[in-house]
Structure formats: C-alpha cells, structure tokens
Symmetry: C2
Subunit: 659 residues, 2 copies
C-alpha cells in the first residue's frame, strides 16, 4: 500500500485543528439562531516570522465574510474569534493562515531601532515591502508609495515615528499581501431556529386540565377544549413550549391501573404511552380528548399566546394497536407464534409491543414519516421522542434528516437517559436537543463538572434540556429536600440551561414518591390529576411566582439564553455553586450582558462563603456594581466576595453586572 | 446546501470511534515492529440485545485476520484488544460490530430458566436459532441440528444443561450469524522498524575520539580511523545507535571560538553546525575526519558491532558554503543586496545563513534529497535533523515520504524543542522520533504527568526520545544534583523511555555549565575534548557500569522496550516516582514480563514512603516475588509496600516480577 497517498498533505502554514468540529467533520456542528460560537484553529509556522489567521465564514445564502482571528493563550498556537450566527441553514467555514510580512517587519524594526541596529536597512526593507503592496493594491498605490518615500526621507527613527503617526499600520492592514496563504479543510455548522437550543418548556396532561369529578367520584376527562383555559397559566409563568404526553387512543389489553398496578378498572384512563386501540393508533386523537379539529384549535390557541405545542412520538404499540393486525411483520414473532411483548428478562411489560425495525425497515419508516408529517400539517413543529435509544440510531438519522430537509423548523427532543455513547450518537444523528442527567446532578462539585461538560465538551453535537422533573422522575433530592430543593433546582435549571423544563405539579412542590420508585405516587401516567393551582398561589404554597420571575429574568438577559458561555467560578464552600454567563454588547443587542449566579446547593442549611471570581471572564474590574434580580438589592463586588445564602429563605443570588 | 449529503451515515450498529487514529484518520497511526498496540472502538446498539465486536486487521501483505474484541470498563461501550505488530509496512483495520443473537438468547435463557419463566419457549427459540445457523454453516449442520434436537429432548432446564455441557457455546462461537453486521471506516497504522521507536543512543564527536595534543599544545584532530577504536566503548555500554554531529567542512567566516566566542584562532576547529566551506558542503566529509572511504569503513565497523550510525542533517550554511555561490536564490537577499544571516532580533548569528525555502522550493528540495540519498548509499539509515521547526513542515513531509517510499528503513529524528503544536505536527509529517521535554521534567509530579502524556495521549503520532543531555543541554538538575542526579536520570530514561539517549561525557558526570548558559563549559561544539574514560572507570568515577547494566536490563526485559505500556502508580512521598511496564506472555516471546520502577527523584535526600500498586495493571495477586535488577535482592510485595531510597547510594528499585 502506498502510504504517501494516505497522509493528509500538510499546508505551507500548518493548520492542524479547527473548531467547531464534530468527529473530524463527519457531522456538522450544531448552532441555533442567535447563538454565539467560538471559531478556532491551531495554526503556526516555522521560525520566528509572524502569521495572520482569518476565519472565512460562508452563510447559508453563500455569502463569505473574512473575519480576523486573534491569538489565544501563549504557547498553544490557538487563533480565536466569536461569531453570533443568525440565519437558519448550513454555514461553512475555512481557516486562512498567511505570512504576515508587515507584522514581521514592524516587530523587527521596532526591536532594531531600539537596539540601534540595521536602522537604515530596516527602512529600505519597509520601502521594498510597501512597494510590493502598491503592486497588489493599485487603489492604495499612491498612499503606499507616499509612506515608502517617507521611510527614507529623514533619519530612520524619526521617519518611522512619522509613518506610524500618519497611520501606516491601518493602511497596511487594508493592503495585506497574504503570501503563503494556506486554507484549512471546509467544515459545516448547521444553524437551527432558536427554540432548537434555547427555550423554557412546560409539560401537562391535557386529560387533567379541566377534568371534573362528580359526587359519585366519576371523572369527566379533561380535553383539548377544557385545556385551552390552562394555556393562560402556562403563559403567565413565561414558558415558550408546552409538551403533551401522547394524545392517541390508549390500549385496553393489560391496561395499567393506579400506581402501575395490573388490575385496572374501566374507570382508569391507562397510560398514554400504551398507544393504540380499535379507535386508532399514532395518527389518531384519543376520543376523550376531542376531535382533530379540537386539537388543531388547541395548537392555534397556544400559538396565539406565543406558546408552541410539542407532541410525543412513542414508537411502540399496545396489543390493540391497528398495526398489530395490519402489519404484524413490524413486531417480533416468537418461536411459539405469539407476538413478543416488551421485556427486560425476567420482567415483562405485556401492555407494550416493541417495534422490530429490521423485519420491514422501509415499511415502518414510511409509516412513521407519514404520521410525523400528518401532525406537522396540524401545526406541530416539535416532537419529544420517547425512548429513542431503544430504536436504531440510523432510523432516527434518516427520519430527522428527511423531515428537516422539507421542514427545517421541526425540532426533535430525545428522551434518552442512558450511556454517553448513545446519548451523544443521538445528538449527532440529528436530535435538536436531549434530556440529560441534570436531574441527578445536585451538589456543587457534580454540577460544576457536569455544567462544564454540557456547555463546552459536548456543545457542538449535544444540546441539553435541563428538566427539573418529569412524570418518570422525582429525584431523591426533591423527595427529601423540601421546598428549598424545588427553588434551588428551578433557579439553576433556568439560569444554567439555555433550555430548561418542568412538568406540571412541580410548582406545587409535589414530592411524595411511590415507595421504591423514583417517581410521584399516584402518578399522572395512570390517572387524572386534580390540582388547585389558584388555591396554592393564594395560600402562598406555589412556586409559580418564582418560576415567572426566572423566565422573566431569562427574557431580559440574553446571556442566560446561551449554552456555551457558562463559566464556573470558585467558592470556598463545598455547596456554594458559582457560575456566570457573559455576552459582549455586539452579541447582546448593543448592551453587554453578564449574569453571575451563586446558589447554595444544600437545601438543608444556611451557608456562608467567600466567592472568587474570574474577572476576565466577566470583562469587569474590581469594584463593579451588581443588582440581584431576585431581591432587587445592589452590591459592589470585586474579585473576592462574601455571600450568605439561607436555603430556607433565599438560596440564590442572580446578579446582573451593571455597566 | 444539502445537509443530508454532508452528514456521515450512521450504521445499523453505531461505531462512533475507533483507535488508534490520528486526527480522524488524516494521518496513519505510528507503530514499530514488535510494538503492542491497543485497538479499540466505541460500539453499541439500541435496547438490550447483545452485540459482538471484532477487529479486522489487514497486514502489509494484504492478509486479513478477524480478532474478537472484549468489552472495556462498564458504561463506556468500549471494545478492546491488544495486538503486537511485527511486519514493517502499512496495516489497515476496520471494526466489525454485529447482532450477537446467540449471546442474547443465552443470556435471556439463563435468566428465564432461573426465574421459571418461558422455559419451553426459550428452548424453541434456541432451536430456531440453531436452525438458522445450520443453513449458514453447512459443514456444521449435523452438529447444529443435533443440539437443536437436544434442546427439546428433555425438560428445559435439563436439556439446556446437557447442551451446555456438550459444548453448545463453542459450537455457536464457530458458527456466528453476524446479522446486522456494520463496518467502520478503514484506518491505517504505519509500522516501522524497531529502532524507529525503541533503542538506546549515544552521541560523540568523531574529531575528539583519538584526538591528540602534542607538547606544544597543538592538536591533531581525531578522525574516522581513530574513532573506530571508540566503537568498543559504545558497544560495551550496550548502545544500539551512535549519532554523530555534522561531519562536513566547517565555515571559516565568523567561525566561533571556545565557549562560543567571536575571535576564533586558526587552531579552533569551529562549530560543526556551521556547515560548508571551499572544500564542500552537506555532501562532503570534513578533510580532518578523513575520506569518504574512511567514513564508509567507520559505518561498516560500527554495523559489524551491531551499532547503527546516525548522521546530522542541519539545513543551513556558513557564508563559505558552495551553495552561496551556486544558488544564492536559496537564501534571503536583504534590501541592501546582502545575504541575510540568522537573527533573533536584535541578536545576530553571522556565521549562519538560513535557507529560504520559498524562493526555489523545488530546487532546494531536490538538492536536499540528493544529499540524503548520497549518505543512504554510504550505509547511513538514520538522520538526526537539526532544528526542523525552523523549516517548513510541508518540506519535511515531502522529504520523509519520498525517502521512505524507496527506503522505508530510514529513520528521521526531529531535534525540536518548541511549542506542542509544532512538535506534534513534525511527528504527523513523518518524523519517526523526536527529542522531547524529558530533560526538563525532573520531579515526581511533572514526570508522572509527562510520562502519561508521552506513553498515552500522543503515542499514535509522536515517539519521544528520552535524552538525558546533549551538547546544547546541561540542565540545572544535572548542574546541581551531583552524581546522584546523573544516576537517577539515566535510570528513568532507560526504563521509562522506549528510546533513550546520552551524549558523551555524561558517564563522566560532566556538570559544569558555561556561566549563564544551560550547556557545558568548554563545550565540545567549539573545541576538541580529551576524556579519560578508562581512568575514570578505574578510579570508580564513571557511570559507565550503570549504563551498561541499564542497557542490559532493557535487552532482557522486552516490556521496557515498549512505549505505550507505561502505568504510573501512587506513592505517598512527593519525590518517590513509581511506574511499571507490563507485557503478556503472548507479546513477550512466551514469558510474561513486568517491571516496576521506583525512583527517588530528589538527588539530595534519603526518602521513605509507602508505594501503592495497581495490581490489575501488573496482572498479579498480593504476595508476589520481585527481584531488584540493580542489586539482585529479592522481595515479596503486595498492593502496599514500604521503600527506602537513598539518593547517595542507590536511588532506584528496578523490580522484575517473578512468575
């Protein structure tokens, strides 16, 4: 084998790494409209001469911009720049590195004039260089020649000072020779709409919203008509997205009763994730919830309030699902001729038939595509995909790619809690965002490292949604942390996460678990819930005002709506977590925006600590003013600051730097 | 732009990473003949079913082997295997991941039989699976059918136990269905000869070897004839390679005198790195050293002793070099018409003209290729390249690639001490090995992290040569550490480095620096040295016996001649460094080989400490026997061991585990 043909040809000026980049360019990096992305390269040359490095960024319309990059920390040969991407579509970029002859001459001249060495020679060298520029830039020829003559018009030091005072550097910047220019390979950045990476989500079960119980205990299900009234509650708290668990007919075979029991009664509504019965399957609205028109009207009503509706896509069937009859080949037939239900041996889940994606991959793919497109035509632009890690990754890549090709506005959220290789592969396959392990990262150290991982290591391909709870997840921290735990978690999720979310009932501090399970007792998955949001609010037993405030703070502080700008700072206490998010004025609608969050992650204590800030990351000098966006209090802060955070009253500072 | 066509298509069973890999496959990974390489992949599938993962390794002759991989640590979806590469040339590999239906069935059957669930059904499922195998493997059909029948011949538990006892697992391993097989991209590993990655090197100046001073102080230069006698000294110490500084005519213009002074006399020999005068340039032997025939004879004499000769390739010229007249375009002409000498403004090096690689890149390239090939024809197969980081990386890539295409046995060593981006790029460009920062990593913590970096992070593209000193480098540690420092450094270099080296005089503890410089006073670069190796040996003032022992230990312990198998262990003391190197019997000529090195890195103290070993990395149980290869003493060791190391007598244990 010929090795020569197998090695990458290193350019005249080596550019050995560029970013953002996912798996060496196998996948485009992710961005969302409004996101600020660091573009970088490792570029260097032999010897001592200077190089310049530029980003050549081509937007989705094909227009290319040349942006000068600046050197990173000494010794690493990094070149960096930050750009805010705005247009939805695919950007491409290349790095250009070139011999900066003017910078080399300028440096050597300054050194030699100071040392009194080669003074005349350096003026002649400058003259020769400006002459080369004059040939390359006919428009600036006159100016360049004037400067060239200036360099030998007087004694060298004086001539040089004159030229500098008259703007030689600016002129030379405008007339770069760019000799030895070397271009990197081209890389892609796929920029999606803002909600793909930044937003606040709320989940409710429409069957509970407006459900009524009569005196006999008989329940009238809530439906899309009654649920419209609940949209105001969601709006008032400031959420962008309302996610609905499956809205399809629910299977009757092996239907689950209250608390996941096996002896459900007629009255039990069943788990909405056991999809399909004789009324229909994934393409059908549950008759209890109303008609297709009711659903469309509900989506429209939400949109009118500025709320998008996300639908569940749970690819599995109840034994009553129409697919079982029409396409038994989409399931696994066992050696005894029966259809295989879900199992994790020896556990059995007889109410669920998993789909077998290998018997008729094309047939099942086309059916799922049909279902997804049906709901898109109903105005649904967001799908929360249930357990995507139990289906082939290649299936998702094909589906998301094809859906996005026609509808780039459609967002898929992966509900996967599994090993990192699978979590990350789903992101690379195209999922716009992913549930993550945030719910189980509760204390300072684990949060510090996890937030760093999410905002830096994996941000090019994995967009985390920081959910504080779900119908499946009521963590021990929430079970045993009392009301302070709920306040702490909401504050961190809303400020650390570009995307955060919560499931209905969180604002009521619902914290009792089904024994032995990490989820709520009397779980809404198996029954109707009757929650008195108004009453709790009046009694002062609701977190809703805090949630409203947090979403308000997010809206007013664009830095908080970014993923990649999170910086963790140091504190002396083992539970005082400190992080900040910063945006330059250029990237924050003209007004520099910096928020520092200091949280006591121990819901059982009052903590005092010194907090040590990296002022460079905040672009601020000691003695700066901050306003606490929770209490309204003002402080003057510096590099080292004292805090006292009482989990029982107020566990967090959310401080905006006043400029 | 169409995003669809730009994303890598994820396979049915995702394989998201494979190694070894350099920059996502842009460059082949490096290996040397005899090196043990870990091949790995991240591969996983949806749901709970089992997969199997194989390495498909194709040797340079085109023969492909399928090697089963084993899972790595839980949760990481890593699959691993170690292979010892032996043939020089380019290997390629792919990873194959497939649905392991038999493993899935076996696991489920064991669980269900234990739980008393689906027992008959699982036997039927097994029967169906064996039937499928029988179709795929006609040769084993009879056996497979027999086992299939066995599964339903008795009650399930009993039938299953029978089948297991009769070898069902072995049969199934031999008849894998490999459904859903997915192949990774192909990657290359370039395997070079052993000395490219593993060996011990010695440097001397031939002009000093046999040089004689008469009573008037006049010196008769040593030469290739007199230097032949010194080969025995090199051989006795056990070195594989003898590296010679440049052997070409030395320039007279601006010739350097003793201690780098500017007023050299006729009698001063000058620096051999100021290459070229009227007698010739890079293609010429210095007349003082003899004729081309003398040089050839010297190389042959060395080879006869099993020593290879490495030549210097220093691409620069003295002002007297023939190139200056024949090809002035290979240098830089300044604005005043003069040729530019080397500078680091305001410092001037007027005895050296650097080559300008951009004026006539093709001309200079062909000339260098001619020079290199001339010396190859003289039997030189190793070139130590002086300051490669001041020449274009692309030049080296082209040169090394073209030379190796015809002469894959030729080795280039990069003498670059600079920023990591350049050091690493030179390795990727093709340099077989590189000087590194070992000389300046002297204490436990810095050695621990640097040895980890060298043996793990960068081993695929950067092969470090651990030199204890050079004519340019006499570190503060050696200047001020006394004899213990020399012993400590030699011991670490010889055991931690697959390649190590030293410059003549190290064995005599030469430790006086030129004031203000990090190199020896009365440096051999500018004068002849008259060293009494024999006398020092007799007086007990020579490190030569220790060096001989260290090279002997290397020869007897193949684990020490590997780069990637170094594991750092913990000690309680801040200066007690502990590392081990291990090879399985399969990779060490049939005899498992493990060496543990414990060194006191403080040359001024006696230290006592507990040493805590990772026994898994040593493949040993507590209570194992070790022999100290330095003292011959035997110990019984376990996980936690006491050591006492006296820098003034013996600063190190080099312990071989006795099996």
């Amino acid at each position: 084998m010929n090795v020569e043909s197998k090695s990458f040809a290193i350019g005249r000026i080596p550019i050995t790494k560029t970013w953002p980049s996912v798996d060496g360019g196998l996948f485009p990096a992710k961005a969302f409209s409004g996101e600020v992305i660091e573009f970088g390269a490792i570029a260097f040359r032999e010897g001592h001469d200077a190089i310049a490095v530029d980003l050549l960024l081509t937007d989705p319309k094909g227009k290319t911009q040349r942006i000068a990059m600046h050197p990173g920390r000494p010794g690493l040969d990094q070149w960096l720049t930050k750009v805010q991407l705005t247009e939805v579509g695919t950007y491409s970029y290349q790095i250009s590195a070139w011999d900066d002859e003017f910078a080399t001459w300028l440096h050597n001249t300054e050194v030699k004039l100071k040392a009194g060495v080669d003074q005349e020679l350096m003026m002649l060298e400058g003259q020769r260089l400006l002459g080369k520029m004059a040939v390359a830039y006919p428009k600036q020829k006159k100016d360049l020649i004037r400067f060239a003559e200036l360099l030998t018009a007087k004694a060298p030091k004086e001539a040089f000072e004159d030229a500098m005072a008259q703007g030689l550097v600016d002129l030379a910047s405008a007339t770069p020779l760019r000799s030895l220019e070397t271009l990197s390979e081209s890389r892609l950045v796929y920029c999606e709409r803002t909600l793909a990476g930044s937003g606040s989500w709320y989940e409710f079960f429409p069957r509970s919203e407006g459900a009524q119980k009569d005196k006999t205990g008989k329940v009238m299900s809530g439906n899309f008509k009654t649920a419209v009234a609940s949209l105001d509650r969601v709006k008032q708290m400031g959420f962008d997205v309302l996610y609905l668990p499956p809205v399809h007919p629910i299977g009757t075979a092996h239907k689950k009763g209250k608390n996941n029991t096996l002896d459900a009664s007629e009255a039990d509504p069943g788990s909405p994730w056991a999809i399909g019965n004789t009324a229909g399957g994934h393409d059908t609205i549950h008759p209890d919830l109303g008609t297709e028109k009711d659903f469309k009207d509900f989506v429209k009503a939400a949109n009118k309030l500025g709320i998008e509706v996300a639908m569940d896509l749970a690819l599995q069937a109840s034994p009553d699902h129409p697919w079982v009859k029409t396409n038994p080949e989409w399931f696994t037939t066992r050696a005894d001729g029966s259809i295989a239900y879900a199992e994790n041996p020896p556990k059995k889940y007889q109410d669920i038939y998993p789909i077998n994606f290998d018997n008729d991959p094309e047939g099942i793919y086309q059916e799922v595509l049909r279902v997804v497109r049906k709901w898109i035509s109903f105005g649904v632009l967001i799908f929360r995909v249930d357990n995507p890690h139990t289906k082939p990754v290649s299936f998702w890549q094909r589906l998301i790619t094809e859906v996005n090709a026609k509808n780039p506005e459609v967002i898929f959220l992966a509900e996967a809690f599994t090993r990192p290789a699978m979590m990350h592969a789903l992101g690379k396959a195209g999922f716009q965002q992913s549930y993550c392990y945030f719910a189980w990262r509760n204390h300072k150290d684990e949060l510090s490292s996890y937030l760093k991982e999410l905002s830096q290591d994996s941000a090019d391909f994995f967009r985390p949604a920081l959910w504080v709870n779900t119908p499946d997840i009521l963590t021990e921290y929430l079970q045993f942390g009392g009301k302070p735990a709920f306040k702490i978690r909401a504050t961190i999720a809303a400020t650390a996460g570009a995307t955060w979310g919560m499931y209905s009932g969180f604002e009521l501090y619902e914290s009792v678990a089904r024994p032995g399970a990490e989820e709520n007792i009397d779980n809404e998955k198996y029954e109707y819930k009757f929650r008195d949001f108004e009453g709790a609010l009046k009694a002062g037993n609701s977190l809703a005002p805090r949630i409203t405030l947090l979403n308000q703070i997010r809206k007013e502080n664009p830095a908080l709506r970014q993923l990649r700008n999170l910086v963790v700072h140091h504190s002396d206490d083992s539970e005082i977590l400190v992080y900040s998010k910063h945006l330059t004025a250029e990237h924050a609608e003209g007004k520099e925006n910096t928020v520092i969050v200091v949280v006591n992650t121990d819901p059982h204590s009052v903590r005092e600590s010194m907090v040590h800030l990296d002022l460079q990351a905040l672009n601020v000098a000691p003695g700066f003013k901050v306003t606490d966006l929770i209490t309204g209090a003002s402080y003057t802060w510096g590099e080292h600051n004292f805090v006292r955070l009482d989990a029982f009253t107020e566990p967090a500072h959310v401080l905006r730097i006043e400029r």
